[in-house]
């Protein structure tokens, strides 16, 4: 009997809007068991599953969905973990609409299977009910230093530890997790989940040394020569915030998104003065940019109690690189979008505080090298917007510290470390790299994938010593 096809994804239960904008509580509440099973039933269990091709790390999607149908959620989680070691994170933050769900055959006519939500369901089930299952090979005697504790570094460390190597992660900040803890807000990725994943990685025997800025405390060369590490993995991310270089950018009230989000997420400025790190927003905030970072900043500002939170973006909604779900949630919560617009100047009051932003309108011209239509300014279209705070979310580059302090480590023109895509090998023997420091600002899953590939080739390298 041909079964009836349910055309749409089962909706994700969400926190009511009025509750959302008053707290940092997670917005997407997660599927219930019942919803998960119903959604899993939508999967056609394709023989040649195209969804898997869309997954950057090749998770066997129909197999884990089948295990959901069999109510064996722990096995489903284990299935995902064969390829993806941070499913509770990826289920929440992956741009599924550009990856697995984009390729799902159902998506040709209807909505694709909600693969991300199912991934999150089994991962959360495992975090709540599972016991950590791992097999750790006997110690090899090799020691590896991992620099940076974002998704790239953590994944690489976990994989190497499972192979029996002794791994130490060095992190510059006082908490491990990289962007997962200092950038992505609580309402999208609860910090308790990241903390739990990190506990699991520690349980594998990985040591994590926080407050350790490599390039200052020790250089990569010293780690290898003096500290006895046989190999080093560099996963330092894209941590250097870009500014626009327009007049008024140094006024009080102009933040990089990194500063704004770090104050609120990492330092808990939303709970000032209980926590002592301050944040100041005033009543009207303008966020410049159209990616996840911009959405996170605009939605965070709302939760801090601002009256107006604007997103100003040069192109149109279609070109926005943010996850579809984030754009949707931002709209629901009342973020106001100004498309085809870009600031040319920020003005301050007589105390040097931001009071207004001058923007110019744009139109879309010919496609540029990225294939997106290039935004071109319309002369004479300048207008002013009264704001108290401006947050720059126009991208991040690589922090030059490691490259500047490491002999023979080659970087490209933008300063990204040059590393082989398949192996993570850099120009320096024994040194591997992956994640945003190599690719430029990208995604959690790509960083994770790079960490995993590098772990395999580091293992090979160590065994050849």
């Amino acid at each position: 009997m041909p079964r009836e096809i349910i055309k749409n994804k089962y909706p994700m239960p969400l926190l009511p809007i009025e509750k959302r904008i008053k707290s940092f509580h997670e917005v997407a509440l997660g599927y219930t068991e019942d919803l998960a099973i119903k959604e899993a039933e939508r999967c056609l269990q394709c023989n040649k599953p195209s969804c898997v091709e869309g997954c950057p790390v090749g998770v066997d999607i129909p197999a884990f969905i089948k295990l959901i149908l069999e109510r064996d959620y722990l096995a489903a989680a284990a299935k995902i973990k064969e390829k993806n070691s941070l499913p509770a994170v990826c289920g929440r933050v992956c741009p599924q609409e550009n990856q697995c769900e984009k390729m799902c055959v159902l998506g040709k006519k209807y909505e694709p299977v909600a693969i991300g939500r199912l991934e999150r369901f089994v991962a959360d089930y495992e975090l709540a009910n599972g016991e950590l299952q791992y097999t750790r090979k006997s110690p090899t005697g090799y020691r590896v230093a991992v620099v940076g504790s974002g998704p790239a570094g953590l994944t690489c460390a976990a994989e190497l530890a499972k192979m029996g190597h002794e791994v130490t992660v060095f992190e510059a900040l006082h908490i491990a997790g990289g962007v997962l803890v200092y950038g992505i807000p609580e309402f999208r990725l609860p910090k308790s989940i990241v903390a739990k994943e990190i506990e699991n990685i520690k349980a594998l025997g990985v040591k994590i040394e926080v407050n350790s800025v490599i390039g200052k405390l020790w250089t990569v060369d010293e780690l290898m020569r003096e500290k006895g590490y046989h190999a080093v993995f560099i996963g330092t991310g894209a941590g250097l915030p870009y500014f626009m270089d327009i007049p008024g950018e140094n006024l009080n009230g102009v933040y990089s998104a990194n500063e704004f989000l770090t104050r609120v997420n990492l330092m808990k400025a939303y709970d000032f003065p209980n926590y002592l790190t301050p944040i100041r927003t005033g009543k009207r905030v303008a966020v410049i940019g159209g990616g996840n970072v911009a959405m996170d900043a605009a939605r965070t500002a709302l939760r801090l109690g601002v009256e107006e939170s604007y997103i100003i973006y040069r192109r149109t909604e279609k070109e926005m690189p943010a996850r579809a779900e984030e754009i949707e949630h931002a709209k629901e919560e009342g973020v106001r979008f100004i498309f085809l617009s870009c600031p040319v100047e920020i003005k301050g009051d007589n105390e040097g505080r931001v009071c207004e932003i001058i923007c110019q309108n744009y139109e879309l011209g010919e496609p540029d090298e990225s294939g997106r239509r290039r935004p071109v300014p319309i002369p004479g279209s300048e207008y002013s917007l009264k704001v108290d705070t401006v947050i720059m979310a126009i991208g991040q580059g690589p922090n030059p510290l490691i490259a500047a302090t490491t002999d023979q480590l080659q970087v490209n023109k933008k300063g990204n470390i040059i590393a082989d895509e398949q192996t993570g090998k850099t120009s320096k023997p024994g040194v591997f790299a992956g994640g945003d420091i190599v690719s430029g600002a990208a995604t959690v899953i790509l960083a994770m994938g790079a960490g995993k590939k590098a772990a395999l080739s580091i293992d090979k390298y160590l065994r050849s010593l």
């Binding site: 104050r263 790190t277 301050p278």
Partner: protein, 280 residues
Amino acid sequence: MYTIKDKILLAPGIKMFMIDAPSIAQKAKPGQFVIVRKDEYGERIPLTIADSDKREGTITIIFQEVGRSTQDLGKMEVGDMILDLVGPLGRESEIDFYGTVICVGGGVGVAPIYPITRALHMKGNRIISIIGARSADYLIWLDKMDEVSDEFYVTTDDGSYGRKGFVTEVLTEIMDKEEINMVMAIGPIQMMEAVSRITKEKGIKTLVSLNPIMLDGTGMCGACRVQIGDEVKFACVDGPEFDGHLVDWENAKRRLKMFEREEKIALTSLGCRCCQGGEK
């Protein structure tokens, strides 16, 4: 965790800690700083490494209790542990042979200028030091500075010790008398600005150590940005030392006031934490 091995009250509201931090002590160079987070609730505050002892594995920090965070820090005692300490951060001073160097230290700025002065002295420079403070009570490390200086001057605003007046007056007199190759100034921002203005007229190279608001201290946030000539620099990685003649002082002073209002709120909310909190 980093244990406080010694605590000394140097002057009213100015405290010195010796902290057990062997790795940082191995690496610390004059001009560099650390970021301290006292406890879970604390801010990340940058403090210059005033001294370090490789053998003992300790570093010395000196701070003035100006806001809530430094006051909280000042309440810690010998044996207490600081939760987070990261460093050494920033670029080290360029210790070179210049000839005759004037080192100007104002208030608590004497602490950071001491290791630089000592290093410049060991390089063979002739050192003229000028130390200033509000009054005699607030003068710190006179003997240590004297030890590494060839000529030594002290001023106080009220004349309670040394000469009555400002460091800049002595500076001008010396520069009129003899040829100076370099000036190094660390202290309150108004003092560094005034020194730079005077030396600019004479065209004498001047380095200052800026202390803007910082957050991570690794170049990740841009909170510490300062305008140097026509370039924007991140003081935590490109500095903290800059050419005093190129600093946009108005901008630097203004940015220090970014959270003035919040700092007052923090000072007055000294209440207990247990009854606040709640679910956030």
